[in-house]
Amino acid sequence: MSEATPTGRPAQQEFEKVLAGATTSVASFDEERLTLLQRLQRFLHAYPTTVPFVVLALGLLLGVAVNPHRFTSASNLSTVLTQVMVTGLLGIGQTLVILTAGIDLSIGVIMVISSVVMGRLGVLDGVPTIIAFPLGLLCGAVFGYVNGALVTRLKMPPFIVTLGTLSIIGALITFYSRSETIGMQDIDEQAPFLSLMGDQVAIGDVRVMWGTFLLLIVAAVVWYILTRTAYGRHVYATGDDPEAARLAGIDTDRILLSVYVFAGFIAAIAGWALIGRVGAISPTAGENMNLNSITAVVIGGTSLFGGRGSIIGTLVGALIVGVFRSAVSLAGLDVLWQEFAIGVLIIVAVALDQWIRRVSK
């Protein structure tokens, strides 16, 4: 057999001799001819966040078409923003979980139990807000930890785990709250800080709750973590291909666990916003919020298969839901058609996701 040549390079086989003449410049090609549809598919694959923006624009057009005057009125914009506030916050937590190819069905009840903990301690038991509030946040993180521990230690599917904790936490809420609602007056007397996120500021004619700014801040922080830190890359990698991520040196169990804790914590923050939004601490407020948050995430273009999606998408997704609801109701249609429209949006969003993914196949 051939031996190493004096230059230290391996001796080439006969057919490889011509390689010396091979070109060394970076390749460039003439654009191949594609149909319009294929181009669109490629473009959406490269810039997936454009989809929700286009849908949002369509929703706005629809609203303007239905009732230009009322839809663009300050009071309507305020209503939409208020509706988006809590769903958006929960959606951010849900995005983290869904990016790892998981799902958190318990995120809504974690939000409620956190608000109930803050409220009962801070308002009824007279615990100082400075202690009651962090305990409420901690409560969310602890329940998130329980979810994460069950998923990583017992290797149970996230859907089943959180379906279980959804029931369990729901029962705990009824038990702990004794089905009592704490009214606004009591909150304002004992712990006004808890309803702070419901206070409004006027920007022009539009009244905006503080909770909306909270949403933007949380979104900015999580966006930064996901896109600019190593941890964020690891979240994507874990959802994308867990075995590859593990072999590449990522502790995927640690990432998974942290994502559920993070989601629980954000749910607790959403619980704070919920108190302001509802104007009370109610064990029955926000029951369907877990599904709404999933809706926002999915319409926002995050893939349920993990590894693809963004916080900006989720924010836009939450806005889309709000805008479509508003447009349908301004059209004078029954509320049931709002639900109908949202259902169609979800199915279209997931179908689109599947279509876009086919580019790389």
């Binding site: 230290g8 391996p10 490889e16 075995e243 072999l247 040196g249 990522i250 590894g307 790389s360």
Partner: protein
Amino acid sequence: MSVEPILTCRQLVKRYGRVTALDHCDFDLYPGEILAVIGDNGAGKSTLIKAICGAVIPDSGEIRLGGEVVSFSSPIAAREAGIETVYQTLALSPALSIADNMFLGREPRMPGFMGQWLRATDRGRMARFAREKLNELGLMTIQNIHQPVETLSGGQRQGVAVARAAAFAKRLVIMDEPTAALGVKESRRVLELILDVKKRGLPIILISHNMPHVFEVADRIHIHRLGRRLTVVDPKAVTMSDAVAMMTGAMAPPMQAEAA
């Protein structure tokens, strides 16, 4: 040989249910050498190197690195010990960019406040480094360092995985069929890269089914059969057809080869 091996495995056993992938397998790697591992499909080559790099935990047996007994509980532990691996499955994240993939699990932080307090990764540095390493491999057909790995061809992906391992190895490089999907030119580059790594003084374990490549670069050839080391042969003393005959069980290993 009077030199001590840098890596030894003794009596490694790994079972997957009723399948025995490693059956009391021994393994020796000497400093600075290129050791090829050849064997039939399913002989247990990948399992052997996964046991070495922490991706599977052997049921029993002992692994020594530089004389010390090691038991890596995860690929991270092996990587921290300076062992880099190109897996047969490549272990790349399809949706992440080339640069992200090359630095997965060891992203450099930005200097100053941004890096120290806000933990921002230094994306500029990652992109430059990735570009440089791919150019060294001659992977010029990759146009954009930020494109997701899923948009690359199979061979380009393999190139990325090889570049990653070669760039970061401190102690030893393991390559499980690194040229299986590569073209003629790219395979040649990988062989050159393997010799470059050797010149840096690092030993290499090379699993390959390509006999001409194996006989060209290997210092010794570990023939793996039915989950264990059949023999180790010197590529200068044995012909390709003899090696293949031993590997497939058509020929008994020469007795004196055990000493090689």
